[in-house]
Assembly symmetry: C2
Homo-oligomer: 335 residues x 2
DNA sequence: TCTTTCTCCGTTATCGTTATTATTTATTTT
DNA sequence: AAAATAAATAATAACGATAACGGAGAAAGA
């Protein structure tokens, strides 16, 4: 691989001139420029960005911590991140954490060794190891979709989760449902709490109450949705509608309900959350909350790039708008 | 951020000793080791990997070119890649190409500027720009899942696509189907050709023939699957079974078929390909070909790491085994 | 004509780490 | 105790690009 010295030698100028020619051609005379570019052409020279980054002390990369890339919602968020990153000459290091703290520590550590200039956390945990706390304080970090519990010092780009869940509740109440079940995500997640709060808020306002026994924890997977539905169906008095905190669980729930010989929404209405691509191709097509996944990612990345540039983020908490997409998995209560 | 010099100063040794202590502690005496480690602790020193990489001339990163991260099959492959990479201290740069050549060139270019030590291409195109051909020849590259058309010089880790499609055909023939439709992927893709070949092979052996009018191109998306099904349903004599070259298209096709008031598999059998998570939660659960997605990724990464290490790959063409998963979307032909 | 200003370009220090070579110190052997 | 050997550590030159600085020469102004 040829280096800048070789190009300099070949074109009879100094390395500085070659560097200038490539970084800002206006700084060199047209003749020199031409000679240098010709030499670049001949040698097939490509600047060694490892050296450039080292020299500038920046990696021009960010690491994205995601619990599971195979989750369609997260992968859409990542697309948004990637797009915004590329637009500004940044690249994305993928940190699939599988929800494991060790892996989070490992990937977050990349920002401490200059392998990444910042990080985006899609999970709700503080990603650094205890021992790295001190150093980590200076690492640009943005939370997207989720919120790090008990730490308000990092910018967050999230959905109006509370509002969205309220909209779901209002929708179901309007359809006449009075006894509702909820399949949540992990109880530790702030967004789960937000959504639950928004949902209950509306119920209370309608003089309804959420029966504690109709509140089951899921893990944002289809199989946990199926299990959750199973639990709800075998309750003393099963609900006439189930709010699932993501689409996968809703799909799992519907699968289980139909397996039991019941119909959706005939016997039970089901509402999801996220509006992943698959939602509209289900049978029945899923009523759900549309999250602007790519925009969430893009905004998070833009905020992060601002922080990396040394500017404090414009806003600490960006709340994006949701959209209730009413399809056919929710219908009038027939009880 | 503290550097190695500071640690050296604090512990009263040379920078070389600090470096040795961290790379191979056996090379320094226990007393010095202790002092150095104490200084590391105190300063919170973390070696600057940007500098280490620069010094060693390697980035310890690979770039993965994927047409679409949001595709569940690809994201599973990526998980495998990421896992194998992490196991060997490598990181994964995400190159979502959206199938666009410019983006492929951009990301492939990272391997020419030492930002990546190698690349994995999940699409069927030669990813480098024309002008980079010469330099690119020395870049370690592996093809996974797909195969670069007209270029046998790169190692490939793929499924036995031909065999898998044959298995699908045998399954459908065994169920009594004689008139079959196929929704393929883009015609340029070698795996599409392989699968078609395998499918037709069995048909011919059974004295059947694939009616050209029942062969439609899809784009591996649900909506293209729906369109494909629409086309097939409105044919003069519609097929009694449809083989879709991935699960998304199968899901789209089933959606469309049911929308028309027909039943799957009652009226039409549908078979997919990939066995993504969603397949088993569909209604009806999808008969499909299980691809060991994570293993494909893992094997591709392992091969790539071998090449990066300077060893020629053990095998140029790794063909992994498929598994025909028979669920309920395929049934006896009732014509 | 003599400054002054500006354009263009070369010299060189620098970034943080590692590898090589040289030197010191400790240990063993005679 | 001297010599030979081994172990531990230090000094320093890379790696490739950039940026700060300065010098040379041309153009512009006095």
């Amino acid at each position: 691989m040829s280096n800048i010295r070789e190009v300099a030698r070949l074109s009879g100028v100094s390395v500085a001139t070659v560097s200038r020619t490539l970084k800002d051609p206006r700084l060199v005379s047209p003749q020199t420029r031409e000679r240098v570019l010709k030499a670049v052409e001949e040698t097939g020279y490509r600047p060694n960005l490892l050296a450039r980054n080292f020299s500038s002390g920046k990696s021009y990369a960010v690491v994205v911590l995601v619990p599971n890339v195979a989750n369609p919602f997260f992968s859409k968020v990542i697309r948004g991140i990637e797009q915004a990153a590329q637009d500004q000459g940044y690249s994305v290091l993928l940190g699939d954490t599988q929800g494991k703290p060790e892996r989070e520590h490992f990937y977050a550590g990349m920002a401490l060794t200059s392998q990444a200039d910042g990080l985006i956390q899609l999970d709700c945990r503080y990603p650094f190891a205890e021992k790295d706390m001190a150093l980590a304080a200076s690492v640009p970090m943005v939370n997207a979709c989720e919120r790090i519990a008990d730490d308000a010092s990092y910018p967050v780009v999230e959905l109006d989760n509370r509002g969205a869940a309220s909209a779901v509740a209002r929708h179901l109440v309007a359809l006449g449902h009075r006894r509702m079940g909820v399949i949540t995500g992990p109880a530790t997640s702030p967004i789960v709490r937000d959504r639950l709060a928004g949902f209950c808020e509306v119920l209370r306002a309608s003089n309804l109450e959420l029966d504690e026994s109709l509140l089951v924890n899921g893990e944002f997977t289809m199989s946990s949705g199926a299990r959750g539905a199973e639990t709800l169906l075998s309750a003393n008095r099963p609900p006439s509608a189930i709010f699932c905190m993501n689409d996968e669980m809703a799909i799992g729930a519907i699968h289980q309900i139909k397996k039991k010989g019941l119909s959706v929404p005939g016997d039970i209405s089901v509402v999801g959350f996220d509006n992943i691509e698959f939602a509209s191709f289900m049978d029945p097509p899923l009523t759900t909350i549309d999250q602007p996944a790519e925009e969430l990612g893009r905004r998070a990345m833009e905020t992060l790039l601002q922080m990396i540039a040394g500017n404090p983020p414009e806003q600490k908490r960006a709340k994006l708008a949701f959209d209730l997409v009413i399809r056919e998995s929710s219908g009038e209560c027939r009880d």
